[in-house]
C-alpha cells in the first residue's frame, strides 16, 4: 500500500523503558492513557477526567530537538497512541531506579506534596519536565506555570510548590540525563522519515511525512479527521463519543511546523505547538507572550498547535482574536493549490470556517509592529490559569504622536466567531490618548459591533461591560504607559513582594 510517500511503515514505533516498542495493530482512536493503563497495565498513570483538565494522566514525551533530547509533559488521556511515534515515553513508574527516588519524588515526600496521592503521579511527571528543562534558578512563577494543568484537591498546592523549588535548587542530574546519548541514538534510530499508515482504507491511522504526501492522502480521504495536537479532537473521542475511523496525524509532516521569524514578518507553520511558538509570539509583543503563558496548561501547549487552534474555529479560542487584531493572513492548501486570506475571513459562522473538503491549514503570518504601533491583548476568566476566556480583547493601534491613526480591534467570546469590531475601529480613528472623553464614542460603538449572548459562562451584560473595560484599560495603559500598575501580569512582582 502507498499513501503518497516513498517508503511506507505499517506500524508506529516509540521508545519505552529502554526498549523500542512497535505497535502494528491498534484502533486509530486508541488513546495513550488507555494503552498504558489497560494494555500495558501500567496503572501508575491516573485518569481523573479524560478531558485534559486535571493532569492526573501526565506523562513525559522525549523527542530530539536541535540534537538534544527534550522532555515535555502531555495529557495521555487526550493523546492518540499513534502520536507517540518517534518519542521516548516516560511515566511515573520509570523515574526511580533501584529503589532510589528521583529528586522530584524525594522532594515530594519530604515536603508532603501528596495527600490522597491521586494527582501525585501527574504532578511528579510535570515536575520532572520542569526539573529537566527549566532554567535555573527556578522561580515560584515557573512552578505555577508548570502546574497550571495539574489539579490537586487535597494539598492546597503550597507543599507541592515547596517540593518543586527544593528539587530544582541545583542543576538537573538524573539517570535520564546520564543516559541521554543512548536515548538520543535510539530515537534517531527510529526516525526514518517514512509515511505511516496503519489500517485499511476504511479505518486507519496515518501520519504522512511530507506536505505532498499529506495533500495527496487528504485529497483521497477528505472525510478523514486531521489531528494535530489532538487537544480538541481528544475530547470529541472521550466525551463526544465521535466515530472517528480515519485519522491523519499531522505531527510527522516535515516542515509544517516551521517558524520563520523574519525582520518584517513572523510566519508560523500550522503544526507548530503553542510551546514552540510561544517565544516568537512573545517577541511580537509581551502581551502575546502573556496570552500564551495563560493558554491552557503546559501539557495543552506542548501538544496543541497554532493551526489546530485556528482550524477548530471556537468562538472563545484565544489565538484568533489576537492574530486578527495583528492583521494575520492564513494560508491553506488543497492538493497543489495554495491560497491565502485575511484571518478574519476564515471564520464564517458558528463553528463554520472557510475550508473546503480536503483542504488544510498550512501556516499563518503576521507583520511585525511598526514604530508607531501599539498592541494590547488580555483575557478575562474566572480562574487565573487554565480557564476558558469569558471575554478576550485584542487591539492594534497605529499612533501618530498621541493620536490614533488607525485601529484593528477584535474580540473573542462576544459573538459566534472571533470577530473584528469595524464600528469601534472607525470611532477610534483620530482619537487622542490625552482626552479620555473622546474615547466614549468608540465604547458606544461596541454595542453596534457585538450582540453577545447570555450563557452559563457569562451574561451578555457582563460581556459588554468587560469588553468596554478591556478597551478602556488598553487606552488608559497607552495613555499613561503604566502597564504594570493596572494588570495582574505586572502585579506579579508586587504579589511576590507581599509574601
Amino acid at each position: 500500500m502507498r499513501a503518497g510517500g516513498d517508503i511506507m511503515r505499517q506500524a508506529i514505533r516509540f521508545r519505552r523503558r529502554g526498549r523500542i516498542v512497535e505497535v502494528r495493530d491498534f484502533s486509530p482512536r486508541t488513546l495513550l492513557l488507555d494503552y498504558l493503563r489497560l494494555t500495558e497495565r501500567s496503572v501508575g498513570t491516573k485518569e481523573g477526567c479524560a478531558e485534559g483538565d486535571c493532569g492526573a494522566c501526565t506523562v513525559a514525551l522525549g523527542r530530539v530537538r536541535d540534537g538534544r533530547v527534550v522532555y515535555e509533559p502531555v495529557n495521555a488521556c487526550i493523546l492518540l497512541l499513534g502520536q507517540v511515534d518517534g518519542a521516548d515515553v516516560v511515566s511515573v513508574e520509570d523515574l526511580a531506579a533501584d529503589g532510589v527516588l528521583h529528586p522530584v519524588q524525594a522532594a515530594m515526600v519530604e515536603h508532603h506534596g501528596s495527600q490522597c496521592g491521586f494527582c501525585t503521579p501527574g504532578i511528579v511527571m510535570s515536575l520532572y519536565t520542569l526539573y529537566r528543562e527549566a532554567e535555573r534558578p527556578v522561580t515560584r512563577e515557573a512552578v505555577n506555570d508548570c502546574l497550571a494543568g495539574n489539579l490537586c484537591r487535597c494539598t492546597g498546592y503550597r507543599p507541592i510548590v515547596d517540593a518543586a523549588l527544593a528539587a530544582c535548587e541545583g542543576p538537573p542530574a538524573d539517570r535520564f540525563l546520564a543516559e541521554s546519548e543512548t536515548i538520543r541514538a535510539d530515537l534517531e534510530g527510529i526516525a526514518d522519515g517514512a509515511d505511516i499508515f496503519v489500517g485499511d482504507d476504511t479505518r486507519f491511522f496515518a501520519a504522512p511525512a511530507s506536505e505532498d504526501a499529506l495533500a495527496a492522502l487528504y485529497a483521497r480521504h477528505p472525510d478523514a479527521t486531521l489531528v494535530a495536537g489532538c487537544t480538541d479532537v481528544g475530547l470529541w473521542i472521550t466525551k463526544g463519543m465521535a466515530a472517528i475511523d480515519k485519522v491523519i496525524w499531522l505531527g510527522r509532516v516535515a516542515g509544517l511546523d516551521a517558524i520563520e521569524a523574519g525582520p518584517e514578518a513572523l510566519t508560523i507553520g500550522a503544526t507548530a505547538t503553542h510551546s514552540a511558538a510561544h517565544a516568537s509570539l512573545g517577541a511580537l509583543d509581551p502581551d502575546m507572550g502573556e496570552l500564551m503563558r495563560r493558554f491552557g496548561s503546559v501539557q495543552v501547549r506542548a501538544s496543541g498547535t497554532v493551526g489546530g487552534n485556528i482550524a477548530n474555529g471556537s468562538p472563545i479560542g484565544d489565538l484568533a482574536p489576537a492574530l486578527i487584531a495583528l492583521g494575520a493572513a492564513l494560508e491553506l492548501r488543497k492538493g497543489d493549490r495554495v491560497r491565502a486570506l485575511p484571518l478574519e475571513e476564515f471564520f464564517l459562522a458558528y463553528r463554520k470556517q472557510d475550508r473546503e473538503p480536503g483542504e488544510f491549514v498550512r501556516r499563518v503570518s503576521v507583520n511585525r509592529l511598526g514604530a508607531g504601533d501599539a498592541f494590547r491583548c488580555f483575557k478575562v476568566s474566572k480562574r487565573f490559569d487554565e480557564d476558558i476566556s469569558a471575554v478576550m480583547g485584542a487591539f492594534r493601534l497605529a499612533l501618530v504622536g498621541r493620536r490614533i491613526a488607525s485601529a484593528r480591534v477584535a474580540y473573542g467570546g462576544m459573538a459566534a466567531t472571533p470577530k473584528r469590531a469595524p464600528e469601534t475601529e472607525a470611532m477610534l480613528v483620530g482619537v487622542s490618548l490625552d482626552d479620555p472623553a473622546s474615547w466614549e464614542p468608540a465604547f458606544a460603538a461596541l454595542a453596534a459591533d457585538f450582540q453577545p449572548l447570555d450563557d452559563h459562562r457569562a451574561s451578555a451584560a457582563y460581556r459588554r461591560t468587560v469588553a468596554r473595560n478591556l478597551l478602556a484599560k488598553a487606552l488608559h495603559e497607552l495613555a499613561t504607559g503604566r502597564t504594570d500598575e493596572t494588570r495582574l501580569v505586572g502585579e506579579r512582582p508586587a504579589l511576590q513582594a507581599a509574601e
Binding site: K46, C49, E51, C54, Q115, G117, V380
Partner: protein, 742 residues
C-alpha cells in the same frame, strides 16, 4: 536507642509517600482480577417520569457485549431494610433501588448497564441503548414556597426544624442595631481527583469488592442488605482512596450496579464513573439559601440571632444538614431562633461534603457578623471577642477545651490585622482594591466506636491493622505514630494496614473523627498487646526473663526495661518462642459528651485583591490559627488546613454547579467548567496551631482537623471582598460578574 521515643507530635513524613510518588499505590479501579470485564452505565436524560421502552438490541449485538441489564431483565434484589447510620445516610425516605422499576427520579439515574470485554466496547454499546420516557411533572426549581420541615428521623439525628431560646424576634425588634440579610450557597461537588470506581467479583455467594469508600465496614453492610446475603460473605478492600471529602461516606447505587453486573455475567466486573457521571451518581453539597438577622446593643453585645435555612434534598430520600448548629452555639446570645426547611427536588441525593452543614451555616453567620460589625462601626474581630461563648449555650454544657481566644490573637498578629483601615475601598495597591476580612472557624468534635489489632512479630516489629480507610489526610502516618509511641518503637518499625473488612471494625472515615476514634483504638490495642506480653513474661519459666518479672513492667526503647537494662522485643519474642502475638483494642465514646461539649476552633483572616474593571478577585494571603487539641503530626495537620483553605477559596470565588432548570441537571459537569482552584490561584497560606490538649474528650487529647480547615474560610474571603470594594455579594461563589454587575 536509649532516648525515650516521642513519636506523637513529630513532623513525620508520610509513610505512604514513596509509594504514592512512584505510582505504586493501588486505587479501587486498579486491581487485577482474572477475566475482568468492563461496565458502562446508561443514565436517564429526564428528571422525572417513567421509562416506557428501552431498546437494547443494538447494544446486545455489539461486539464484545455480554449483558445489557435494565429494569426489565435485572434480577430482583431484596434491598432488605436496614437502620440508617446518622453519619452517612439520608435520614428519611428510601435509597435508590437500581433497575428495580421504571420510575425516573432524577436526571442522571442509572437506567441500564452494559457489560463487555473491553471498556471501549462497553462504552460504545451503552451509546446504542435507546430509552423512551413518559415525562411527569417534577421539581427542578429551588422553590422556597415548597419548603417543609425535616422528618422525625432527621430531627432525632440533630437536624431540628425549629429551635428557640429566649425570644429572638422580639429581641431583634428592640435591638439598638440590627441587620437582616439573605445568603445563597451554590450546589458544590466534591470532585476528588479519583473518580468513584468499583471492581466486583463473585465466587459462589461470596463477593469481593474493591471499592472507593471512606467506610469499608459500611460498604459491606449495605451491599449485604441489598443482596440479602450475610455480611461475612462480603470482603471489601480499599487500601487507598484518591480523595473523597464526603463523597465516599455512603455506598452509592453504582456499587450495587457493579455487583449486580458481575453476578449476571458471572465474571469480575469493573465500573468506573466518568467525571461527568460523578455529578449525578454520587452526592454533592446541597444548594442552600439562608436568612440571618442579628440584633445587638450599641456596644456590640448580641441580643438576637435568627438564622433560617432552606436546603435542597431529593424526592426519594431526605438528606438534611447541621447547617444551623453554628447559630446556636458559636456566640453567646440570650435569644436565638433557628428554622430549617427542606425543598424536595428531582435530583440525586445530596450528601456531606467537607465540613458538611457547618461550612454552609458559618458562611451565612460569619458574613452576617461582618455586616453587623459594619452597622455597629465596630472592628469585626472585636465584635467576635465581645460575644465570645464561654459555654455551649445550646447544650448548656462547658466546652471540654476551647482556645479560640488564642486563635484570634495569634492569627490577627500574624496577619497584621491592625494595619487594616476600616473604611471599605480605603486600601489600594497598584490600581487594585485591597480588602482584609476575617471569620471564626468551628467544627464539632465527635468520636465513635472503633477497634484495632496490634501484632508484635518475631523480628520485633509491629503490625497494626484496622478496617478504617485513609482518603488522604494521613491516617497511615498518624496511626504509625500513635502505635510507635505507645509501644516505644521507632516509627520505621511499625507498619499499618488499612481499608479491609477482614480487619477489626472501624467507623466511618469522615467528620474528622478518625484520630479521636481509631487513634484511641490503636492506642488501646498497643496497650493491650503490652499487657498480654507482660502476662506471658510473668508466666514464662525461661530463667533469662526472671529479672523482668518484678513490679509494673516498664516498656521503653523498643523493649522491656529490667534491672540489667532493656530486653528488646525481638529478644523477648525469641525467648518466648513466639512468631507473633496479637491483641485487639477497642475504644468508644464515654460520658464526655454528657458532661461537656467538644469542638475544634479557629480564626481565619484573608486578604483579597480586586481588579475593579473586571471584578476578578485574587487571594494573596490567608492566615489561620487553630485549636485542634493535641497535634499528632504537624506536617499532616498543617496539610489538612492548607487544603481546607484552598477549598475555601473555591467555595468563595469559583465553585458552583450551574443548574439547568429545564432538565434538572448541572450544565457544567466537568473540570473545565466547574472550576476549582489551580496552583496560581493560591499564594501565601499561613497555618498555626495554638497549644492545647483535650484529654476530657479522649485519652489522646486530639480533636479533629479536616472539616475545621474549610470552616469560615469563604466568609473571611467574602468579608475581605466587601472591605475591598464596598460591595456585599450575598450569593456565593462571588463570581466576577456578580461583583462587577451586582
Amino acid at each position: 536507642m536509649n532516648v525515650p521515643l516521642k513519636a506523637i507530635g513529630q513532623p513525620v513524613s508520610r509513610v505512604d509517600g514513596p509509594d504514592k510518588v512512584q505510582g505504586h499505590a493501588r486505587y479501587a479501579a486498579e486491581f487485577d482480577q482474572p477475566d475482568l470485564m468492563h461496565a458502562a452505565m446508561v443514565l436517564s436524560t429526564i428528571p422525572s417520569g417513567t421509562i416506557t421502552a428501552i431498546e437494547t438490541k443494538a447494544a446486545r449485538s455489539a461486539p464484545g457485549v455480554h449483558a445489557v441489564i435494565t429494569h426489565e431483565n435485572a434480577p430482583r434484589l431484596p434491598y432488605a431494610p436496614m437502620a440508617k447510620r446518622p453519619q452517612v445516610d439520608a435520614q428519611g425516605g428510601d435509597q435508590l433501588k437500581v433497575f428495580q422499576d421504571p420510575t425516573i427520579r432524577f436526571n442522571g439515574q442509572p437506567v441500564a448497564v452494559v457489560v463487555a470485554e473491553t471498556l471501549e466496547q462497553a462504552v460504545h454499546a451503552a451509546d446504542l441503548v435507546r430509552v423512551s420516557y413518559e415525562h411527569a411533572d417534577g421539581h427542578t426549581t429551588f422553590d422556597r414556597a415548597r419548603g417543609r420541615a425535616p422528618s422525625r428521623g432527621n430531627e432525632k439525628a440533630g437536624r431540628p426544624a425549629d429551635t428557640e431560646i429566649g425570644d429572638a424576634d422580639a429581641a431583634l425588634k428592640s435591638a439598638a442595631v440590627s441587620i437582616d440579610a439573605n445568603y445563597v450557597q451554590a450546589r458544590e461537588h466534591h470532585n476528588a481527583i479519583e473518580p468513584h470506581a468499583t471492581i466486583a467479583a463473585w465466587d459462589g455467594d461470596h463477593l469481593t469488592l474493591h471499592d472507593k469508600t471512606q467506610w469499608p465496614d459500611n460498604d459491606r453492610d449495605e451491599i449485604a442488605h441489598v443482596f440479602g446475603i450475610k455480611k461475612e460473605n462480603i470482603h471489601v478492600v480499599s487500601p487507598f482512596v484518591g480523595g473523597a471529602f464526603g463523597s465516599a461516606l455512603r455506598t452509592w447505587p453504582h456499587v450495587t450496579v457493579a455487583a449486580l453486573a458481575a453476578r449476571v455475567v458471572q465474571r469480575p466486573v469493573r465500573l468506573e464513573l466518568t467525571r461527568r457521571q460523578c455529578y449525578t451518581s454520587i452526592g454533592f453539597r446541597p444548594h442552600t439559601e439562608q436568612r440571618v438577622a442579628l440584633g445587638a446593643a450599641a456596644d456590640g453585645t448580641l441580643t438576637a440571632i435568627v438564622q433560617e435555612a432552606f436546603g435542597q434534598t431529593a424526592t426519594y430520600e431526605e438528606y438534611a444538614e447541621t447547617t444551623l448548629d453554628p447559630a446556636r452555639n458559636t456566640y453567646a446570645c440570650p435569644n436565638v431562633r433557628t428554622r430549617y426547611r427542606l425543598i424536595e427536588m428531582n435530583t440525586n441525593s445530596p450528601c456531606p461534603m467537607r465540613s458538611p452543614g457547618v461550612a454552609t451555616g458559618m458562611l451565612a453567620l460569619e458574613t452576617a457578623m461582618d455586616e453587623l460589625a459594619v452597622a455597629l462601626r465596630m472592628d469585626p474581630l472585636e465584635l467576635r471577642l465581645k460575644n465570645y461563648a464561654d459555654r455551649d449555650q445550646h447544650k448548656n454544657l462547658p466546652w471540654s477545651s476551647k482556645e479560640l481566644r488564642a486563635c484570634y490573637r495569634v492569627a490577627a498578629e500574624r496577619f497584621g490585622w491592625s494595619e487594616r483601615t476600616p473604611e471599605p475601598r480605603s486600601m489600594r495597591r497598584n490600581g487594585h482594591l485591597i480588602g482584609y476580612g476575617m471569620a471564626t472557624a468551628v467544627y464539632p468534635s465527635h468520636r465513635a466506636k472503633a477497634s484495632a489489632a496490634a501484632t508484635l512479630l518475631r523480628d520485633g516489629t509491629a503490625l497494626i491493622r484496622t478496617a478504617g480507610s485513609d482518603m488522604g489526610p494521613g491516617t497511615y502516618t498518624s496511626m504509625t505514630q500513635v502505635a510507635a509511641e505507645t509501644l516505644g518503637l521507632p516509627v520505621e518499625r511499625v507498619r499499618i494496614e488499612l481499608g479491609d473488612t477482614d480487619m477489626p471494625y472501624a467507623p466511618v472515615h469522615g467528620g474528622s473523627i478518625t484520630m479521636a476514634s481509631v487513634g484511641t483504638a490503636v492506642q488501646a490495642a498497643c496497650q493491650a498487646l503490652l499487657d498480654d506480653l507482660a502476662g506471658v513474661v510473668k508466666a514464662s519459666p525461661d530463667p533469662r526473663l526472671a529479672a523482668f518479672k518484678a513490679g509494673t513492667p516498664e516498656w521503653r526503647d523498643g523493649g522491656l526495661a529490667g534491672p540489667g537494662g532493656v530486653i528488646s522485643f525481638a529478644e523477648l519474642m525469641e525467648g518466648l518462642g513466639f512468631d507473633r502475638i496479637t491483641a485487639e483494642g477497642q475504644s468508644a465514646p464515654g460520658n464526655e459528651s454528657k458532661t461537656h461539649s467538644s469542638a475544634a476552633f479557629g480564626a481565619v483572616f484573608a486578604e483579597v485583591e480586586v481588579d475593579p474593571d473586571f471584578g476578578t478577585v485574587r487571594v494573596p494571603r490567608i492566615v489561620g490559627a487553630y485549636d485542634i487539641g493535641r497535634v499528632v503530626n504537624p506536617k499532616t495537620a498543617r496539610s489538612q488546613c492548607v487544603g481546607g483553605m484552598v477549598q475555601g477559596v473555591g467555595m468563595a470565588l469559583l465553585e458552583q454547579a450551574e443548574w439547568d432548570e429545564r432538565f434538572g441537571r448541572p450544565m457544567n459537569g466537568n473540570l473545565a467548567e466547574y472550576v476549582v482552584p489551580v496552583c496560581a490561584d493560591i499564594r501565601s497560606l499561613d497555618v498555626t496551631f495554638v497549644p492545647g490538649e483535650d484529654t476530657i474528650f479522649n485519652p489522646l487529647g486530639v480533636k479533629g482537623v479536616a472539616e475545621l480547615g474549610l470552616s469560615g474560610v469563604s466568609a473571611a474571603i467574602g468579608n475581605a471582598v466587601y472591605h475591598a470594594t464596598g460591595r456585599r455579594v450575598r450569593e456565593f461563589p462571588i463570581l466576577p460578574e456578580r461583583l462587577l454587575m451586582g
